[in-house]
Assembly symmetry: C2
Homo-oligomer: 444 residues x 2
Amino acid sequence: MEVHTTQCCILMGCLCLFYPWSQVCEWREPEELAALLDLELRENGEPQHQLLQRIRDVAKYSVKTNHPRFFNQLFAGVDYHALTGRFLTEALNTSQYTYEVAPVFVLMEDEVLSKLRSLVGWAEGDGIFCPGGTMSNMYAMNVARYRAFPEVKLKGMWSLPRLAVFTSQQSHYSVMKAAAFQGIGTENVFKVKVDDRGCMIPEDLGETIELAKSQGAVPFFVHATSGTTVQGAFDPLEPIADICDRQGLWMHVDAAWGGSVLFSKEHKHLMRGVERADSVTWNPHKMMLTGLQCSAILLKDTTHLLKHCHSADAKYLFQQDKFYDTSLDTGDKSIQCGRKVDCLKLWLMWKAVGSKGLEERVDRAFTHTRYLVEEMKRREGFELIGKVAPVIKERMMKQGTMMLGYQPQGGRVNFFRMIVISPQLSHQDMTFCLNEIERLGSDL
Amino acid sequence: MEVHTTQCCILMGCLCLFYPWSQVCEWREPEELAALLDLELRENGEPQHQLLQRIRDVAKYSVKTNHPRFFNQLFAGVDYHALTGRFLTEALNTSQYTYEVAPVFVLMEDEVLSKLRSLVGWAEGDGIFCPGGTMSNMYAMNVARYRAFPEVKLKGMWSLPRLAVFTSQQSHYSVMKAAAFQGIGTENVFKVKVDDRGCMIPEDLGETIELAKSQGAVPFFVHATSGTTVQGAFDPLEPIADICDRQGLWMHVDAAWGGSVLFSKEHKHLMRGVERADSVTWNPHKMMLTGLQCSAILLKDTTHLLKHCHSADAKYLFQQDKFYDTSLDTGDKSIQCGRKVDCLKLWLMWKAVGSKGLEERVDRAFTHTRYLVEEMKRREGFELIGKVAPVIKERMMKQGTMMLGYQPQGGRVNFFRMIVISPQLSHQDMTFCLNEIERLGSDL
């Protein structure tokens, strides 16, 4: 019976995907939704027809992030090959720590990471898949600290001078989270000025480093960004690399969002100089549509820093008297113990469409964006939105016609952030989006 | 065409699950396996029949962790309801940070966490799902540090005295990883002695705390274990809580493995006193079979420590002028930004079998274990395995009949660690396991 239920359930899950949802979301107030879903967990189990209804409800009231008009986050859309990889990952249910328990995935992760590194411009190096870009950025900061002060692992921060981290005013908030979590402190993150487009100003980086030193702090880590979260800006990597070289600092590039431009011959110039970095964060679950989660931290290092920094040599997992090459037991590179398999979805999609197919997706997203900008310039009233944005957003959500985020930034009042990823998108969707903002705000 | 491929692929994925695999694994040497899989990623995509063959290969050479004779890790088996929840999670592909983008899952996570807390014995509190038990343990250590020294978030460790962490000699290695990652240093983790069964000796905890103080360190965190990784020991929580109370220390219980005994009226006494802890790690992906990953950190705290400790107030996600109750935007409790949905699989399984069904699973696992111990006592030659274990293990893997891990510990030479979880297991499997070890090692 159990298997029968499952087959129905799996079928339902698949149907949810192919069902032509007309709305991006079916908004309900929290109290109403809680009552509709009947969330309470009870002593006794439920019959099959009720479970099937629950699955339908979960799908119905969830946001359709694979709807072409979901522009709300830095992920969207569905790639069916990647989705197959995700289903297979779930079905095989294993952890990535040893060759013994994940033979296929240990070798596959190695291949995928090596291919991503080659796009960065590195013939060798190291890396690992992490649960999201923030974790990848944290790995970079931790390995950089360990390279500069290996005694930190044993003795903690008390053996170190006060450290300083540098990043732009518009970098992702994970830099602050990392500094807090790793005991460095958010006060020791120095914010470098950006230009109008949101790109770090290298001259200001130089000055900020001198400022930190004059305050007695020891610079060790520069966190540049390729594709900032709100404006999508690419920091100028060459001049930043010059400064890092001169000062002997670890250069990290957070390309969680922007990294995928490296697939494109036309757009990879945005990351010129990335091969000079020490580490790169790259989330294929964003622009590449592999599905959450798929984030890699890539390192240029060939001295096993990642393993030395994070190893704990647990004897029950990493026995040294094993009958195969234990360098394949990559679990000690990770700060996690069990680690989800995140490589299969990307590998299968890449096999299916080839590097060329991935390149086309990136190029298409840029084409749509260019079209959108041109269209917007031709219309009036799109410059400042301010207090009107939250009202337009509320109407948008309640009508469920599309999803688009807004925020203020720096001196700017609220504005909408349009994210163009999904390969299902057309120019018509771009036009729809502008028309819809006009329609929703016409009386404001 | 894409959809057609997918449907075939999905079907294949499901077939892999129901296919009656005779072997737990089909061992291949790494070089041979790499060649068989043809891992290389190329410029051009591949035709459908080749993709289908790739999916078959991935399944064929992966370890069948849902085979009843996979005893190798602290996870095993498959629950088909949980699996349905995992497929649905993948299909809906969202992140858990705001009500806007994950309305169903924000409410559902809240309900599941609340139910887990009530089993711990707390009527209120806080918590979050994390990518694995190590991360959950790290959260506990970080929140404890923040409660004791809130200035650490801003100023880093330089504003703090040297800290000391306490855990048993047989606790999980994630304590060391956490101390290293968070800038506390592994040297500041004090190891408390254990008795023969592997349980922390409370008197030694008291003495070790005094020792740390005499060395000028400031104790702040006691990490107890319910269900150690190798011996499955439960630390005595009542006397540990007495000491933590007296000394004003944060008491954390790592019940990643053992937590699920709280479902069982018969076995929950093993965690007597857990309600006195400040935080508990509990991984339903282990004994409860929800599938990787499903790990919760639960807190007794009701003052929003979790949020204060980890928040970064990103304006593009957590706008304060939203049209709904922004306390539902739980993303700032997390150190991650995007966070996978881990609640649905547990919720759906719980709905399907009820608390009663989960209790039965725990009780059944204990019954099997008791049977195994009795059987083992009746046989000779099972006391010391030593250098024989790696050879038996190699033969076991190459024949693929079952999977079972071994390790040395403390003064003990190599021994096999038997993990009994899967609801598909019978007494016959226990007998098989013992016979198989005898067979594989008969000539040694």
